[in-house]
């Protein structure tokens, strides 16, 4: 028996979102604590109820030990981290649901805290020991085959995928622009957004190219902040403050030969120009017994605008290679499109907390309390970042 509808998200909380470096003098752990307390308060729970942590990437900025000690979690009964980077964002909540379904813990917190004052993800593959590169990946025999070319940031690497997608399918920069512009429209109406000024097509095409074909507005923001999500059993959720938001399905992973993806570039030709999500999507839909047609709102990890297009393809909202025209036809617009995408303003315009803002928005949409509420939203798709494996996703329902 799988974990379909066995657990529910009952609380979400965050710190304010800051431009890179502006969260100082708070510490990353301090922001993590504030986000967790906010999420527990939202649920009507306290730290005394927490017995699990289901994380991804760098999660707490450290590991569970210091966080549990500082926050006084009575007993930790489950602590695990999805490997990889932002790919595991949505999947961390699936990991929480799995732990609860397995009986290992009752109330599990998923969390991301981020402070880029001295560490910019934009240069996360840069050679070490250089100004601005303090957070870069350590030297490795594998990196020797990538670094000499000057590929040093994820944006440059995803640009390589985007360029081939354009070559194969006729995708154009106008299509990427539509992702950036529609997302900005959604962000403008929200207090929490970093970017609140309208973005026009002229602005887009006047912006500097960073890594062709990507310009400034194809890149996500560089932010600080923390977001926490509390998951518990569906039974327990029924007694809490908000109506339960069911974890109907979650999946993570990917093809082994997708592997390190953008840092090795030898993925099979068949899915080179993809988000890496195809096998994950297949398992998500199978667990839920649903398809893309059932989704009311999609919170799609948007570190780089072309990867939204490739995820729309990989989750079946449109055919492979048809993502560009699909967005150009207005399908992802809030209010008028067939599948509203990133109603919170995404990583591109609200804030970049490595995908956890997408989970928060998915929960608020299902509760019916979102700022840009999709009428009667009852199924929300949340995806983690296209990245090295694992990628992940989460299906939330009423």
């Amino acid at each position: 028996m799988n974990m379909r509808d066995k657990a529910a998200v009952v609380g979400v909380g965050s710190t304010p979102y800051y431009k890179r470096g502006q969260s100082l003098p708070q510490t990353p752990l301090e922001m993590a604590g504030k986000a967790m307390l906010a999420a527990l308060d939202d649920a009507g729970l306290t730290v005394d109820d927490v017995d699990g942590l289901a994380l991804y990437s760098m999660g707490l900025g450290g590991d569970t030990s210091l966080f549990a000690q500082v926050m006084g979690i009575p007993e930790v009964r489950f602590t695990a981290t999805l490997t990889g980077g932002g790919g595991g964002a949505a999947g961390s909540v699936g990991l929480a649901a799995a732990a609860i379904h397995a009986g290992m813990a009752t109330t599990v917190v998923s969390l991301m805290t981020l402070q880029q004052a001295v560490s910019r993800f934009g240069t996360s593959y840069a050679p070490r020991g250089r100004p601005g590169a303090q957070y870069s990946a350590p030297p490795s025999p594998e990196k020797d085959f990538t670094s000499p070319s000057g590929l040093m940031g994820p944006g440059q690497m995803f640009a390589v995928l985007a360029m081939r997608h354009m070559h194969l399918y006729g995708t154009r920069r106008e299509h990427f622009a539509e992702v950036a512009i529609s997302t900005r429209e959604n962000a403008i109406k929200r207090e929490t957004s970093i970017m609140k000024t309208p973005l026009t097509l002229d602005d887009y095409f006047s912006a500097r190219l960073i890594a062709e074909p990507l310009c400034l507005y194809d890149f996500c923001l560089e932010c600080d902040g923390a977001v926490a999500v509390v998951t518990t059993s569906l039974d327990r959720a029924k007694d809490l403050r908000h109506p339960p938001v069911k974890v109907t399905a979650s999946a993570h992973g990917g093809m082994g030969r997708w592997g390190q993806a953008i840092t090795w570039m030898n993925m099979p030709d068949e899915y080179f120009t993809s988000s890496g999500h195809r096998p994950v999507a297949k398992r998500l839909w199978a667990m839920a017994g649903m398809t893309a047609a059932d989704v009311d709102v999609a919170l799609i990890y948007d570190h780089f605008s072309p990867m939204v297009i490739m995820q729309l393809e990989d989750y079946g909202f449109c055919g492979i290679g048809e993502g560009g025209p699909f967005v150009a036809d207005g399908n992802i617009r809030y209010g008028t499109g067939s599948i509203p995408v990133n109603t919170h303003g995404g990583n591109l315009s609200e804030a970049y907390i490595i995908g956890m803002t997408h989970v928060k928005e998915g929960v608020e949409q299902i509760r019916g309390t979102a700022v840009n509420q999709v009428a009667d939203a009852s199924v929300a798709l949340v995806t983690g970042g296209p990245a090295s494996i694992p990628t992940s996703s989460l299906l939330l329902t009423r």
Binding site: D144, G150, V160, M163, L209, A211, P213
Partner: protein, 150 residues
């Protein structure tokens, strides 16, 4: 897609040699030893004949460890690329634009190298174009492949 049509478009540059350092292991050392002698070699499984790249400890098809090193002609096809117009680090401010490219080697089952394109203006680059290898001697004993239009 040039950044400014009014200025003459520069030839693709190269990232600075100071940023390039290698940390090979037992499986990649033969590759870098060969490049230092201006020879491009790719490992092939001695059991099932599958090429694997980067060089690694196992054949991903049959899990055999032993490889033979197959010398390449230096011809390639452009699979994809980006043009780095904006320096992500101060260290590369004098080196933009540079063109990291993914180059497919013929007769290897689709092995791709990541290497810079040279002797080309960014707007002239086309996916599918034929390329030929140009060795870049970076430091004493360190040579990396780059490619130019054939």
């Amino acid at each position: 897609m040039t950044p400014d049509a009014n200025t003459e478009e520069p030839l693709a540059k190269l990232p600075p040699a100071e940023l390039i350092a290698l940390t090979p292991d037992v499986w990649t050392t033969p590759y870098w030893d060969a490049t230092a002698q201006h020879r491009l070699v790719v490992p092939r499984c001695t059991s099932c004949g599958t090429y694997r790249f980067p060089p690694s400890a196992f054949c991903y098809v049959c899990r055999t460890q032993v490889v033979e090193w197959v010398e390449q002609s230096g011809r390639g096809t452009l699979y994809s690329y980006t043009v780095a117009w904006h320096p992500l680090l101060p260290d590369v401010s004098d080196s933009v634009p540079y063109v990291p490219a993914v180059v497919e080697l013929p007769d290897t089952g689709g092995v791709r190298l990541i290497a810079n394109l040279v002797d080309v203006r960014p707007s002239e680059v086309r996916i599918g174009m034929d390329l030929e290898l140009v060795w870049r001697d970076v430091h004493e004993g360190v040579t990396v492949p780059t490619f130019r239009p054939a």
